[in-house]
């Protein structure tokens, strides 16, 4: 279960609103490779993960992603707070504004609403961890794209932090995959799915 801590994982204090860049950064909130997608992916995959240490890893990283979701929402909020309707329109923010005003709603920068099609829970230990490694790379690439466009240090500092966490998580999920491999027969990792097939382990014959 979860407790809540009334602070951000990394401080965010943006004093200069900028709805134009908020539109872009929004993809890391409700976009396909964003923090909501990451947290729901890992927190959903853990239930059927038969190896407790790996389920624990999915839980801990999934929980950290919730903190990142909060950070991205905070960035978007502080970038759009206090602007008038005309200012939002001039920044290209009018289509979002008309449906959500200056509220925070999960969608990608291009407008596609967040949806479960954007992540997978395959129910196969190897597949899910490889999915997670891909997810961390996709998030990192998205942050790279954001960093090319951001000029304000108050914005790029937390973005750089979030990007670095993706690199670390990739390493951890890679190690999680190594742990799953150690539980299986390396002559054929794919002979069965340890999440589903009875007796699927290192001593298969």
């Amino acid at each position: 279960m979860w407790n809540y801590e009334r602070r951000l994982e990394y401080p965010i204090n943006i004093t200069r609103p900028n709805a134009k860049i908020a539109k872009i950064i929004m993809s890391q909130y409700g976009g396909p490779d964003g923090e909501i997608s990451a947290s729901l992916r890992y927190l959903s995959q853990r239930y059927s993960m038969p190896y407790r240490k790996v389920a624990g890893l999915l839980t801990d990283i999934g929980t950290e992603e919730l903190a990142h979701m909060e950070m991205v929402a905070t960035i978007v909020r502080q970038l759009t707070r206090g602007l008038s309707a005309e200012e939002l329109e001039a920044a290209g923010f009018a289509p979002y504004y008309v449906d959500h005003t200056a509220g925070i709603w999960p969608q990608a920068a291009g407008g596609i609403p967040f949806n479960a099609c954007e992540f997978q829970v395959k129910g196969d230990a190897i597949t899910d961890l490889v999915e997670d490694m891909a997810a961390e790379q996709k998030a990192r690439s998205t942050y790279d794209n954001i960093l090319r466009l951001v000029k304000d240090p108050e914005v790029c500092d937390p973005i750089r932090f979030l990007r670095q966490r993706e690199v670390v998580h990739f390493q951890r999920f890679g190690e999680g995959l190594r742990m799953v491999q150690d539980e299986l027969d390396s002559k054929n990792f794919y002979m069965c799915n340890p999440e589903f097939d009875p007796g699927c382990g290192r001593n298969q014959n």
Partner: protein
């Protein structure tokens, strides 16, 4: 000094580096392998928070974006 290993951390601490050919035979085809990291030096906490990790060997900044904020 390497702070990663293709083999488990305890084996790596013997200081022996696997030869290329034996490394290939340890790893089955059609699978992905991330090297094991092991605990070595760490950043001081204020630098670690700023960068986004306590581990210098995982510190991989994006350099193609030009300067913004931190030098």
């Amino acid at each position: 000094m390497r702070n990663y290993s293709m083999t488990r951390p305890m084996e790596a601490r013997c200081g022996c580096m696997p030869e290329r050919s034996s490394m290939d035979s340890d790893f089955a085809l059609a699978m992905a392998y991330v090297p094991w990291q092991y605990f070595d030096t760490v950043y001081e906490p204020d630098k670690a928070l700023e960068i986004g990790t306590i581990f210098p060997e995982l510190d991989k900044p994006f350099l193609a974006a030009g300067r913004c904020g931190r030098p």
